[in-house]
């Protein structure tokens, strides 16, 4: 805590200077021409930072550079999506800076050239621990939001299969179980990020929630979401309805849908939840997981599915497992097949330089030795060019 306070205290003068220059740069010049007309400090900054804040225009030349997302957009686009350490970093630095990396650029080309009449293509981001899979997913989510897609972002599917206090028996189907807390939390965040779509999409069927409540045909989807938030018992069914409607109405003519799931291996693994008679609950018996699995099938068209494998939250899997087959298991692999695997490696030398200069520029590295070449090499060796390790190492410096 003390660290972050110190960071905040010495920030204000630098921040005003930086943000003034930044807005000036964004306002008048594009990234290509930025190097010529600015002060040497900004020229140094432009090496690892780009002022191109629209992911749609990110390309090969921006590779390795950081781009920042305005904080208001962060609140709307990522109400629940960013990893907690990155959220702390945003609070400390007062800006959200993401590095543009090759896997994300690859995904952008695929998404741009994807044929919306074809069934949804599944892209699976995999890699070792801490190489930036979640951040790549967030980058893609930001890109799709800018392009105007409807984004269904599930931040961590592992949260749905473990540590659940309340497990209600589903009223819709007797053998399934509901999780009202998780469902309500997700509905709230879904409303924040996709508010404008909720008025446009209309329900196609009548849904009966209880003896007295029902939603007629043709009502905006926002009402279903409100219903789910108001009555906790039907929250899971509301989520199911939302997913179903969105899937059916997503045509090439209307909106495009992106399903972004982090930790997709949770849907086919085991759970730590138990029924009252202490027998374990398998994932299919959870309503949320069941509905999400239906979304991951490619029997709908007009969008794409981007998923991340994650060992960090996964249950009953060894910590060295990172390959798709190991984490998904046979069932998961068969369900997702055929998918396009996208590996995310550790930082390349250029990306490492960029990250290091970003930390230097933000005055995050206070240790005297960290500013030297030797210090940089030491950091590179200690972290093994792993983004998470680097971030953890640099935090106390």
């Amino acid at each position: 805590m003390l660290r972050s306070l110190k960071g905040l205290v010495c920030h204000p003068p630098k921040l005003d200077h930086a943000s003034a220059l930044h807005t000036a740069a964004r306002g008048c010049l594009s990234a290509a021409g930025s190097q010529g007309l600015q002060a040497p400090a900004e020229r140094a900054r432009a090496v690892f930072c780009t002022s191109e804040s629209d992911p749609a225009r990110h390309s090969q030349q921006h590779e390795g550079r950081h781009y920042s997302i305005p904080l208001e957009e962060v609140k709307v686009v990522f109400p629940h999506g960013l990893p907690p350490r990155f959220q702390q970093q945003i609070k400390t630095f007062n800006e959200a800076c993401l590095m543009v990396r090759k896997p994300a650029l690859e995904l952008f080309t695929y998404l741009q050239n994807s044929n919306l009449a074809h069934p949804a293509v599944r892209y699976l981001i995999y890699g070792e621990r801490g190489t930036g899979k979640t951040m790549t997913l967030c980058h893609v989510v930001h890109y799709c939001m800018r392009q105007g897609w409807l984004v269904l972002h599930i931040p961590d599917a592992h949260l749905w299969v473990k540590n659940c206090r309340e497990l209600l028996q589903s009223s819709y189907k007797k053998e399934r179980f509901d999780q009202p807390l998780q469902a309500a939390f997700w509905l709230k965040n879904f409303k924040t990020s996709n508010g404008h779509f909720l008025q446009e999409i209309k329900t196609q069927r009548k849904y009966v929630w209880g003896k007295r409540e029902s939603t007629e045909e043709g009502r905006p989807l926002g009402e279903v979401v409100e219903q789910g938030l108001a009555r906790a018992r039907v929250a899971c069914d509301a989520v199911g309805v939302v997913l179903r409607e969105v899937r059916q109405q997503c045509r090439p003519g209307s909106f495009r849908l992106l399903v972004a799931v982090d930790g997709v291996n949770a849907l086919w693994g085991r759970t730590t939840l138990r029924k009252e008679d202490k027998s374990p609950v398998s994932p299919e018996e959870l309503t949320l997981v069941y509905n999400l699995r239906k979304m991951m099938m490619n029997n709908w068209n007009g969008g794409a599915i981007v998923a991340t494998l994650s060992q960090t939250g996964s249950l009953f899997k060894p910590s060295s497992a990172y390959l798709p087959q190991e984490l998904l298991g046979k069932e998961g692999f068969d369900a997702l097949d055929p998918f396009v695997p996208i590996p995310v490696p550790n930082y390349s030398p250029m990306e490492f330089e960029s990250c290091y200069s970003y930390y230097l520029d933000r005055k995050w590295l206070q240790h005297e030795k960290a500013h030297t070449e030797d210090g940089k090499e030491e950091l590179r060796f200690l972290s093994g060019s792993n983004p998470r390790q680097l971030e953890r190492l640099v935090a106390p410096l």
């Binding site: 009449a117 074809h118 293509v121 190991e326 097949d337 055929p338 396009v340 695997p341």
Partner: protein, 272 residues
Amino acid sequence: LTPRTEKMAVDQDWSSVYPTAAVFKPASVPLPIRMGYPVKRGVPPPKEGNLELMKIPNFLHLTPPAIKKHCAALRDFCTEWPSALDSDEKCERHFPIEVETVDYVSAGTSIRNPKARVVTLRVKLSNLNLDEHARKKLVKLVGERYCADTDVLTITTDRCPLRRQNYDYGIHLLTVLYHESWKTEKWESEKSEEDMEEYVWENSRSQRNALDTLLRIKASENLSPGTEEELLASEVVKNYRNSVIALKNEGETERNMSQYKECVKKLLNIQA
């Protein structure tokens, strides 16, 4: 009293110092050996009175010159090796089954040793006349006794009291296994995907998914769907099939994953 080591000649006959397996005698072994855990800032303890050196088995009685003498003594009891069998392949071709028995000699009142009844039979499955089904069934029947790397089936029998009986039992086992693996039982038709030894793409979930996707793509573009056989025989699907089989059977390597990625991209018509 000076130890014997100082009076030993350099070119002495070592097999007379240690003719049999004996305890390590520090005064008889002229080597400056140290063994044990050192104290702090010290060295391992010397060999005099060293319990560690005395506890462990030593092979001082089995030096190469001693072995040569053993072989020379045993030569009188052996017959000539047949001159026609001068290479390993010839031995394997003419005598595919190797039978291993051990004889034990010890100084004592009785010449019997219960360990002498153990018989080990080793056979390479490539020498047996088996078809695919028979081979898989045999491997499943024997379980642990088959080594896939060297393709050798090892049967060890010791359940009978006499060596001859164990040998007969071993041969009987081999015969029964061979004949049983050729027969097909009625319940073998219920073999499911979990029982398969290696991944078979035909009739698997992956094939169904791929066909579904292709049919849907064709339907969305309003092309004629074509029959399933045509789709299966097309180049893209064949490549995809090979990459999935490689992934499942060989595990996941960089090469396999990149190959799979290329095949999926071609299958789903994704342009970069």
